[in-house]
Subunit: 344 residues, 2 copies
């Protein structure tokens, strides 16, 4: 670690948070958050973009949105990619010692994620204003929360393909993925020495049905990703996608996702509507037209509660993955929308 | 068994088919098909309705559509409810002796189902004309196949919430349910002595996300079914729904579902379009507006290929279960459509 007292943090690293009191009341000792920066902080410290990771990515996995000429342009902006708690780089079941290791890792909320990120941004980088928070999926959840928790700090938000509160159907889907994983006896209630390979594979199979749309599969668009058959796609894309993740990390972040609710604590007292109406940031809220779990209907309803928000549908049959950067057309749509927002 | 040579079959029973050569080329010895009849065959033998079971039901599970004053009125019609192969009453992994027991049970296609049913109807009941075939979900698959395989015998069809060919996305969903089940070590590659309870539970959790729609869960419509919470619904409805089924039977019928394709054999040579265009029956084809796996788009495309078919959307947020009879409004819609078809 670089000396954290002098705001001279390295471009990529893990920032020590010390003892972190979580929303649950539990204190997580020696908490830490991973990150990576792109570009340079300007003298006015006014060119900051936060880009939190989605489930279950790490900061190196989502760089498609960053680049010269893109919305997240490192020639113009100081972009901080923020690792979610539980993702294996930030404090996680896989890297936390007893008594908070494995399934003993405490319940994390999206507000806990944002609290850790806020600490990194303010205490670590000495930043007080955020030009934009942008994020896909669970990244969108964190984006909404940033605008709710820090209304005077965040100038713009671009949450895409995520809701401000997890819907009951989404809970059901996630429970089914969890259920498939923990059915593997090799999971051993989280106390595995070797990853529960079969369980994670079943988890990936459940995910495969939800993350792309029905027409995506009918039109065999996985061929655009280099797969020649449905079987190859399930194995080469989906099984590989999760095989490299720690099972307890997957389950921890899944729980965080299920609990997401920007109105879930004071001062909003459980009112999603009051929380969203409190947002001061300029907002462009995007939904994937064929997203099966963060549905356009649910996202549009969120957007309607944010004062002045623009709601945009990504016209795509790539389902939830319309916001993943996997195909150039959808990636460009998202990029253009964020550029337009940054221009305001 | 009653004497099968005299068409004096009992109203409920299992009809012996003898050695049955399947589409796969395998001969299943001592095959049998379960059924139950309602009403009386008229003298002209012209009042016959066939009502095949959906996944993974048995004939007693789907009687909601039958009753005095309903479309399937036993005062007017002779209704034969037909048990699918694999459902535990007809020949199935659970009731077939070695060498075709358990996972050795042969691959069954929807055409095999219809062949077994045709034998029961013609050789058992001496019936040569069918006024209507009606079925939901996998029952719809069999309904389409009846019209394709026996165009001069079937006068009307009412397939609802099912497609004439299983879509790739549907294959993915079903594989995920299968994957969840077989992850249970207690499945023992099908050689269990006790049912793999955890695996079947995980299977049911996957199903829960697909069979009802996102708004069904958001609006908590499971309260109409007597459940006071989401957890109660998952346990009391979904876990119970599959816990009473044999795991190998579930997997056998799942494979049948995945393979469904009315155009899959000569004379259609793989052409869904040619198969559907060959249908002579008057058809009313229904789709659930929010069905996530037998989507309205897919069903409408099927209906468009059947000469003269009427396509009707069940206006419902009950997802695939719009066709299950679980709620009175949707049940009445389906009933009215079938009544109208029978009146032509």
């Amino acid at each position: 670690m670089a000396d954290q007292d002098h705001a001279s943090l390295p471009a990529e690293g893990v920032f020590e948070l010390g003892d972190m009191r979580l929303e649950s009341g539990v204190t997580l000792p020696k908490a830490a958050i991973g990150y990576k920066t792109h570009g340079q902080l300007n003298a006015a410290r006014s060119n900051v973009i936060l880009y939190p990771t989605p489930y279950p990515a790490q900061h190196g996995d989502i760089e498609w949105l960053i680049g010269r000429g893109k919305a997240l342009d490192p020639d113009k902006y100081f972009i901080i990619v923020l690792d979610q708690l539980g993702n294996g780089l930030s404090s996680s079941p896989s890297n936390t010692p007893a008594p908070f290791d494995r399934t003993r890792f405490p319940v994390i909320t999206i507000r806990d994620d944002v609290a850790a990120q806020h600490r990194l941004v303010t205490a670590g980088f000495k930043i007080e204003r955020i030009a934009l928070v942008a994020g896909w999926s669970m990244g969108a959840q964190q984006t909404f929360q940033w605008a709710v928790s820090h209304p005077d700090m965040v100038e713009r938000i671009a949450p895409f393909c995520g809701t401000a509160k997890t819907t009951p159907h989404n809970v059901v889907f996630l429970n089914s993925a969890r259920s498939a994983l923990i059915t593997d006896v090799a999971w051993m209630n989280g106390n595995y020495q070797e990853q529960p390979v079969q369980g994670v594979r079943a988890f990936s199979h459940v995910y495969a049905g939800w993350a792309f749309s029905q027409p995506f599969y009918k039109q065999e668009l996985y061929r655009q990703l280099g797969f020649n058959s449905l079987d190859d796609f399930i194995t080469g894309f989906w099984e590989r996608r999760y095989a490299r993740r720690d099972a307890n990390n997957l389950l921890s972040m899944l729980r965080t996702w299920q609990l997401n609710d920007v109105g879930g604590t004071p001062p909003f007292g459980g009112s999603l509507e009051r929380a969203l109406r409190s947002i001061k940031a300029k907002a462009t809220v995007m939904a994937g037209q064929t997203d099966l779990y963060f549905t356009p209907e649910d996202i549009e309803a969120d957007a309607a509660l944010i004062p002045g928000a623009r709601y945009q549908v990504i016209p795509s049959v790539w389902g939830h993955m319309a916001g993943s950067g996997l195909n150039a057309v959808d990636a460009q749509f998202v990029d253009q929308q964020i550029k337009a927002l940054l221009g305001t």
